[in-house]
Symmetry: C2
Subunit: 175 residues, 2 copies
DNA sequence: ATAATATCGTTTGGGCCCCAACGAAATCAA
DNA sequence: TTGATTTCGTTGGGGCCCAAACGATATTAT
């Protein structure tokens, strides 16, 4: 298939950078629409992350990863490190450091079950639950602001596209 | 407006985590569609970044940020630190470290113009240009794989949605 | 029973990331 | 002209990030 050529006649116009890229890459056989899609994912994620950290999380002593870990524990309940890392989208090694920070803030606690002493079960403390009850509504307000420019159709298109990308990467990694 | 309610009757079905979140948050007044959109942006960006670093960039001694900086220099040409950081989506302080790494690999070089000795102009070396000519086609192939699951309509919906989010954050930060 | 293997979470090393503080250089004011 | 202000890029501190190596524990094979 040649998605590049087909897509080129399609919707969103090119930004200044994208025009410069096309000119610079004239001689190479490049699928520019893919570049546009992927680089916009990174731009949006970067901007959203920084916005949410500055406008919301900073006031509650939370990093973005720390918040994500608390969120998973809040929604899914206590669980072992391995699964928690996967749900939060970070590696086990990274999670160890994040948990040390959260434990220092007394927002989570680690326990080792007697049935299998290799495991570590992480759970929210009372303070951790309280913190999430305070911070999540604020966080959600900011999320709503960020997506306020989208109508229903655009929202659905965004989510569908992102899920498609995720599924594709998943499939590529199960090679 | 009540985007939450309107959107809820709409397209993409809820995943397991999203159902758990809805149940957990029943009593609070939360705009769940916003959470769905934002968290999928992070998930997709995370997965794409890790995939591209592992499958492509690692073989060329490049981090994702290092590659992005080289890309900007390749497309837009030599430029001062301030603008380069902005284009690459990182702070000036972070860029200093990234440039140190890239300079160690002899892929970029820094010069101070006589007209204004506060500035630093960064430009690609010959080796840097050669590296990009090698790595970008591979990178682009991986980008194409990642987005291969989208048809034209889905691609356009994704890009339009991401641009909408970016514009909204931009507007919010110019408060 | 005991040795080999597998699976935990942690540690380590190098790099990225932000913010705030800083010195150097240029510009503006008095 | 010389002091105040602005604008550079860099530095320092704390935290996040991954991959690989590691010790501890559990399981499997002999």
């Amino acid at each position: 298939m040649n998605a590049a050529r087909a897509r080129k006649q399609r919707l969103p116009a090119l930004t200044r950078t994208e025009v410069a890229a096309r000119d610079r890459l004239g001689e190479l056989d490049i699928d520019l629409p893919s570049t546009t899609a992927v680089s916009n994912i990174f731009r949006a994620a970067n901007a959203a992350r920084n916005y949410l950290e500055r406008k919301v999380l900073r006031d509650y002593e939370l990093s973005f990863s720390g918040f994500t870990v608390l969120w998973v524990l809040w929604i899914d309940g206590p669980q072992e490190t391995r699964r928690l890392a996967e749900e939060a989208g970070i590696t086990k090694g990274t999670l160890t450091g994040v948990l040390k920070t959260l434990e220092g803030l007394e927002l989570v606690r680690r326990t080792t079950p007697d049935e299998d002493r290799r495991l570590t079960i992480v759970h929210l403390t009372t303070r951790g639950k309280r913190r999430m009850q305070q911070v999540f509504p604020k966080f959600n307000q900011a999320e709503a602001q960020i997506t306020a420019g989208l109508n229903n159709r655009e929202w659905a298109g965004l989510v569908t596209g992102l899920r498609g990308v995720l599924a594709q990467i998943q499939a590529l990694e199960d090679d």
